[in-house]
């Protein structure tokens, strides 16, 4: 298993600003992902955070809006840029271990973002 520390747990931001979310894992993990969960909705994958290289983004998500860093195997950041009220969501960091083909995902506590 993995213990994931995600910060901040919540924030209220002004439109036009940016918020950077940190995800720290207590062990080295192969795969790190960032999801968005809009109020009352399901989880949508934003991107896969690749260690030492550019993140892989899902359709509808772009690097300029959601820049991601992953400097090592235990840490990643997601920045939500040029905030608008539509960005108000919960953002979740997720990790899994590629020790075998089929593995479960572990989630951070989430960051609840409100844009005003």
């Amino acid at each position: 298993s993995a213990v994931i520390s995600q910060k901040p747990s919540r924030d209220i931001c002004q439109r036009g600003t940016s918020l950077t979310i940190q995800c720290q894992v207590d062990s080295q993990v192969t795969m790190m992902f960032w999801y968005r969960q809009q109020p009352g909705q399901s989880l949508t994958l934003i991107a896969t955070a690749n260690q030492g290289s550019e993140a892989t983004y899902e359709s509808g998500f772009v690097i300029d809006k959601f820049p991601i860093s992953r400097p090592n195997l235990t840490f990643s950041t997601l920045t939500v840029s040029n905030l608008s009220p539509e960005d108000s969501s919960i953002y979740l960091c997720s990790v899994s271990f590629r020790l075998r083909a089929n593995t479960e995902a572990f989630f951070g506590q989430g960051t609840r973002l409100t844009v005003v």
């Binding site: 795969m31 994958l45 359709s59 083909a101 089929n102 593995t103 572990f106 989630f107």
Partner: protein, 115 residues
């Protein structure tokens, strides 16, 4: 792209009644996983199904994976108030070997249990 549909969206039951949620994928899955999210919490892994036709049980919870590996169900027998939350299925497709760990989540079923 891959889509995972989950029904029903909501389910209200009396304590002691049974509950079932269903998932259907647009593509054949490598595995399907189930998660529970309590109100205000984050998704927590419940189980993973890998084999065609697989059935797994955890106490009052029974999970099934369809023969075609495209559908799945979660059944809870005799619900309790502690079962309240949103249940998500999440499908994984490892075709090509490049998508390990990526999950496509269903819409979730919100379960409320009345005492």
């Amino acid at each position: 792209g891959q889509q995972v549909m989950q029904i029903p969206q909501y389910q209200h039951v009396q304590e002691g009644e049974d509950f079932t949620t269903y998932c259907n994928s647009s593509t054949t899955l490598s595995n399907i996983q189930w998660y529970k999210q309590r109100p205000g919490g984050h998704p927590v892994f419940l189980i993973q199904l890998v084999k065609s036709g697989e059935v797994k049980k955890q106490k009052r919870l029974t999970f099934q994976f369809g023969e075609a590996k495209k559908n799945s169900s979660l059944h809870i027998t005799a619900t309790q108030t502690t079962d309240v939350g949103t249940y998500f299925c999440a499908g994984a497709n490892h075709a090509g070997g490049t998508s390990y760990g990526k999950l496509t989540f269903g819409q979730g079923t919100i379960l409320t249990v009345h005492p």
